[in-house]
Symmetry: C2
Subunit: 595 residues, 2 copies
Amino acid sequence: MERVDFSCVELTGGFFKEKQNLIREVTAKAVYDRFCDTGRFEAFKLDKNGVEPHIFWDSDVAKWIEGVAYLTMEKKEPALEKIVDDLVLEIEKNQLECGYFNLHYIYHNKKHFENRDNHELYCLGHLIEAGVAYYQATGKRKLLDLMIKYVDYVEKRFKIDKDTGFTTPGHEEIELALVRLYEVTGDKRHLDLAEFFVNERGKRREDPEGYWCGGEYNQSHKEVRAQDSAEGHAVRATYLYCAMADLAKKTGDVSLKNACKSLFDSIASKRMYITGSIGSTYQSESFTLDYDLPNLTAYTETCASIGLVLFAQRMLLLENDSKYADVIERAIYNGIMSGISLDGKGFYYTNPQELIPVLRERNHCVYENREYFPEAQRREVFECSCCPPNIVRFIPSIGNLIYTTDGDKIYIHQFMESKAKFEIGGQSVEIEQKTAYPFDGKIEIVVKGNATVFVRVPEWYDSVGGYVEYKCQGATKISLDYEMKPTLIEANPRVVDGCGKCAIMRGPLVYCMEQIDNGKYLRDITIPVNCQFKEGYDKSLCVPTLEVDGYRRVENGKLYQKYTGEKREIKAKLIPYFAILNRGTTEMQIWHNVR
Amino acid sequence: MERVDFSCVELTGGFFKEKQNLIREVTAKAVYDRFCDTGRFEAFKLDKNGVEPHIFWDSDVAKWIEGVAYLTMEKKEPALEKIVDDLVLEIEKNQLECGYFNLHYIYHNKKHFENRDNHELYCLGHLIEAGVAYYQATGKRKLLDLMIKYVDYVEKRFKIDKDTGFTTPGHEEIELALVRLYEVTGDKRHLDLAEFFVNERGKRREDPEGYWCGGEYNQSHKEVRAQDSAEGHAVRATYLYCAMADLAKKTGDVSLKNACKSLFDSIASKRMYITGSIGSTYQSESFTLDYDLPNLTAYTETCASIGLVLFAQRMLLLENDSKYADVIERAIYNGIMSGISLDGKGFYYTNPQELIPVLRERNHCVYENREYFPEAQRREVFECSCCPPNIVRFIPSIGNLIYTTDGDKIYIHQFMESKAKFEIGGQSVEIEQKTAYPFDGKIEIVVKGNATVFVRVPEWYDSVGGYVEYKCQGATKISLDYEMKPTLIEANPRVVDGCGKCAIMRGPLVYCMEQIDNGKYLRDITIPVNCQFKEGYDKSLCVPTLEVDGYRRVENGKLYQKYTGEKREIKAKLIPYFAILNRGTTEMQIWHNVR
């Protein structure tokens, strides 16, 4: 199986086209402005009297560069390109003779590669990805070449001289980046170095005694082929799993492939929120246990959901199974898009799965170690700013997720209004999709060329899922109608926060209630299982809505009383989850009592 | 209104008689043994080469002494008396010239009264209560006199010289103890000193800047008459409110009485668990917000529930309102009795309101600042051992809660098989109750004497509550039948953890489910609202049980799926909450999905 690169795919309308426009017109600049405010661009001057760089600033900016590259792939952005070019000159100027480049370490003149937790290789990884993307977008290879030189130095220190303070990095990223580098350079040393970092991981304990989290935190508790459950920090984990899948594909390593399959199933069958978000606890921002998906205290970092999609995308290159595409769909329309505000300027690090704002006051007289609740509102600027630029690079390249090829077969995994043109079996094929997905399940696909086309049947439409085969000759029209009916969804009985409740989905979209539409104490609302939904539209949010008859209890001020069964009928209004909390802080819930 | 002291009341059978026997035969000795193991008795030798006393050990032993005194009131326990007498000699020997006595401070030769958080006055308070009780039980007044001398010193330092490092103690207890002392000595200085400590509280900030909790923690955020919601550490709070109620009674201070009423209602209407337990968070072991009663993370300390009952008991001396007796009933049969194991040797500090043991593994790779969950099993020994001796003194004196008098009126607040004889309006009255309460609502009361008797109507039986008046002449028989039918109880809609659920009560007893009877994933069980209950008996626990038809969902391994409505009918078994977790660690829940 092969990827069909987003550069072969042009979104022509619909949901993600709008979002790409938003990134191009608002977000890329907004993130740039915030990065300037915080000194992230200034830091590249490496002025000892200037701003002091944090250990991860290189990566924030690198992801932003990658995003600019992807925007440029579709349409030139001269102003943004200028910023990048100037930045690359600064990198060139400050890169050490040996090839090393790291803002924080050079600023402080610190010894390289002593502390696996200080993000050196993590930053390099993102700079590599930026270099690759920028080269592919503009033909300019300076950044790429600078990073190749740095990689040579890394290979020397870690693999040849073996004189570093650690063997594998505390935050995975370099591994998948080196595979990307290899795909561009064809230099087998780059692939080998990726393999080295993946294979060495977990062989011996690299964290100090009493490290605040166990080896699971950074997936160093076992060698990777022995790992069969998703553990630890969710972003670190998914970035590692991406590299494992890449290597399994490139090397044909079956044990690595099997580990990837186990890890994916561990997430998708037992450790994933209905929004496609992952990361159940703020403690080490990580996975916890099977079926442990608490809503009020979910961590569910935007970057983690993106990581899950990148992992799932790579699994599709290992085997054609619609479950991977179903997870991608779930995340891109829900748990990732919640990460950016509708106006394109605000971001969530943690994405609430339920919000009851008053509970934040629970420890109003406690100053330390307060109970964790996710942030109620998105922010324009962050201290740890990994998520905003991750969105900036993810959305413009979302075309990566739509198609794969397998010999002369084409797989259509995602439905987006688009035109694609790519080579398969020596011939050129064009595929056009017309659809209002995710709001409507009608999809018109026109295939120009000779190919066998497999079209995904979404699992929400038909739980059997899979792909339907179409043998296409000349110009073939495929008309689909994946009818979207609002549906009650239940969770596995082991999911504590799902018991007695249902979520509501319509097509791939998870819907939710907000207090601003429904009043306080959303938890008191009950929906009858035989409910009818009415479809509507919210003009302020510009999103479709659902309305359903439900009821609340009658409150009489008593704390405890005999069950009365007294009800007050109400009409509950629901909005798509991706649009949450764009109207101020308010209660929000995905899971509702049903009866 | 006046108390009818438990010394006038003899339990002759039934639930609390059995518990009193347990305290006498097992618990008093078990606690003594554990106190010996930990050095709490040894510490009274104040041997500088011996065991180092903690700051609160005096109070642990004092409460134990008080318990021994109460047991002795009913029947002599020579061996225990000897232990107390020996201990009192040690106290006498080591009490400083000035009157001061404190194990930790004398051991370390520390300056007195510098740090309000170090429990000096707290320990004195419990020693006073021990001295009073022991004198009333045995006629021996040495301990009492030693404490009177200490109180003189406290008065001198705090009230006259005003040269202490703080004005009001960080842990309330001295206030109510001084009132008890006054009741025995008649010395108005003792009452005045209680008033002093209560009135000075909250007048000025006494905790250092950056104190880890705000003034609410120890109810010092406002002067007491201005406090209208229960805040902070639940034991500290209720002990303060006891003293406030005592003083309101003794002085007729209306603003103090009104504050007490607000504080009581704050707890009983908005901040109390269905078990009569209080304290919603481990953070400062305290109250949080109105209606904030999370089950999985409840703190609900045994001592706090006892404190609530002691407070409610005092409110009955301020006004005849059955709501106070209803709260007493709720706590004594549920949230307090859960604090001791059925075999009398194990104790809960925190009493789980829901238990899902696997969740404790949520942070299996985190070493610090783990999420809080209550202990699953009771323990025989504790570092902080306030709860076990609190139970040892509470249960033998539980007769305190049954009757009050008001002129020539007698109020029967609680129903326990018992014989009581006391004076009212110059004549002797005898009241005998025959009942199997809390398991049966039939109560036969025989009143010998002339009095107007008011009998409480439990709120669980008739939500109007109140008292029914009986004019009694000669020998009067009152036959009651408060029929106990298993009932679904709902919580106020603002209680997040109660939404969509009901608890089950039968009479005053809260029932609950345990995994050992019903299988894992109790949260998945649903009870139909029109359910029928069957009554049974558990021979291993020796408690009545309930059985009810309910259902679980059919699990098919999927994480999310369309709601199917498929059910698997089950019979759910419930046991009384006070008997929880006597059969090993198991899931336990009070609130169940209903439909």
